[in-house]
């Protein structure tokens, strides 16, 4: 047999087997079965290869149905891969966000003449880490909700993610009100990031929109805490870094979806 049998190829196309070893095994097993069928037909005196192929296909059954049956059998594998991939995506995204923002903050405070270790106190770092982590997990949660629930109703994802986060925020508020407020604010910002993503503008417009949003939000938050004309200029690098990190992590999420989840029908 030269090349993959078309019947086997059709089965595999519907089976969406997540692991290459399963794909190879199913392909070899089915190809062997079809060869046995063809050998039997030849042994019965059939010589016309087209006729043999027709009989083989008829006895094998609908390859799409067989493929879908395999897909159901191996569904748990796909869910495990999806869970692991999404956990990895979330972790990588949060780390990317922290790294980018804290490096830019350290650079900005150093260039303004501050000593980064003094200007970025542990309390400041804790709060920013919480804020940025909640922001990242918030819009990734919305991405996942829209990806797995209602593909064409992305704004429903905001409601679902918010509802899912409410018990956590409520519980945190009873214990530590300030971090709970930060998480709630981050979730609000995540909704804006997600809304901008849903509008599907060009990459540069999206990035510009994110920078503008975070600059306004960051500027307003800082002017309330410390009056001063240069506050807006001071927060700009950090806000640009947050916007860039949002942009990159969302691109990473789409890449994961296209390359890892979608081909496996997850």
């Amino acid at each position: 047999m030269t090349g993959p049998n078309p019947l086997v190829a059709k089965v595999l196309a519907q089976a969406h087997l997540a692991r290459a070893c399963h794909r190879d095994e199913v392909a070899e097993e089915l190809a062997g079965h079809l060869q046995d069928l063809a050998d039997d037909a030849r042994a019965r005196g059939l010589g016309d290869e087209d006729e043999i192929a027709r009989i083989t296909a008829a006895r094998f059954g609908d390859p799409d149905l067989v493929g879908r049956a395999f897909s159901r059998v191996y569904r748990r594998d796909r869910l495990l891969i999806a869970t692991a991939a999404l956990a990895g995506l979330a972790l990588a995204s949060v780390i990317l966000m922290w790294a980018l923002v804290f490096v830019v903050q350290a650079w900005a405070s150093a260039s303004l003449g501050f000593v980064p270790t003094q200007s970025m106190s542990p309390e400041h770092l804790d709060r920013e880490a919480l804020l940025l982590g909640a922001l990242t997990l918030g819009y990734l949660g919305m991405f996942v909700c829209s990806r797995f629930t209602a593909r064409h109703q992305q704004f429903r994802a905001i409601a679902v993610t918010t509802l899912a986060a409410l018990p956590f925020i409520g519980g945190l508020a009873l214990w530590r009100p300030v971090p709970a407020m930060l998480v709630a604010a981050a979730l609000g910002a995540a909704a804006v990031v997600w809304a901008l993503e849903c509008c599907r503008p060009s990459a540069i417009v999206r990035l510009g929109g994110l920078v503008a949003f975070f600059w306004v939000a960051g500027g307003l938050a800082h002017t309330r805490m410390a009056a001063g004309g240069d506050v807006w200029l001071t927060v700009l690098p950090t806000c640009a870094a947050i916007a860039l990190a949002c942009h990159c992590t969302m691109a990473l999420a789409h890449f994961f979806d296209r390359r890892l989840l979608a081909p496996r029908a997850v």
Binding site: L7, L37, F60, A69, R72
Partner: protein, 113 residues
């Protein structure tokens, strides 16, 4: 099969039992299972053969079957299936259930006739 002597759904629901029962005697590969089912049933059980494999993989993933590759005639590698201990227990249980069920059905049908 166009000239099937019974509703295909009846066979679909029993394919697990048939596989477990056939493999109770010895380890077999997929095509061999089909030939054996056909032989034992006097050619009544001729199902669409592709449907056998998802059922085999399902039982294997549930831990009722084990499988291994073996090279046989014509240097062709074949995937053999055999029952695990829990598969053997399931085969016996399903067989008892089936006998119980068919006895009840037969009893009802006999009374009707």
């Amino acid at each position: 099969m166009e000239d099937e002597p019974f509703d295909r759904e009846l066979l679909k629901g029993s394919i697990g039992l048939l596989i477990l029962r056939l493999l109770s005697s010895r380890d077999m590969y997929g095509y061999e299972i089909i030939l054996e089912a056909s032989r034992r049933s006097d050619d009544v059980f001729r199902f669409k053969e592709g449907t056998l494999y998802p059922a085999l993989h399902h039982l294997e993933r549930q831990g009722y079957l084990r499988s291994y590759w073996q090279t046989g005639q014509n240097n062709r590698r074949r995937k053999y299936y055999g029952l695990t201990a829990s598969g053997r227990r399931l085969a016996e249980r399903r067989h008892r259930e089936w006998l119980h069920f068919t006895r009840a059905i037969n009893a009802v049908l006999a009374e009707e006739s």
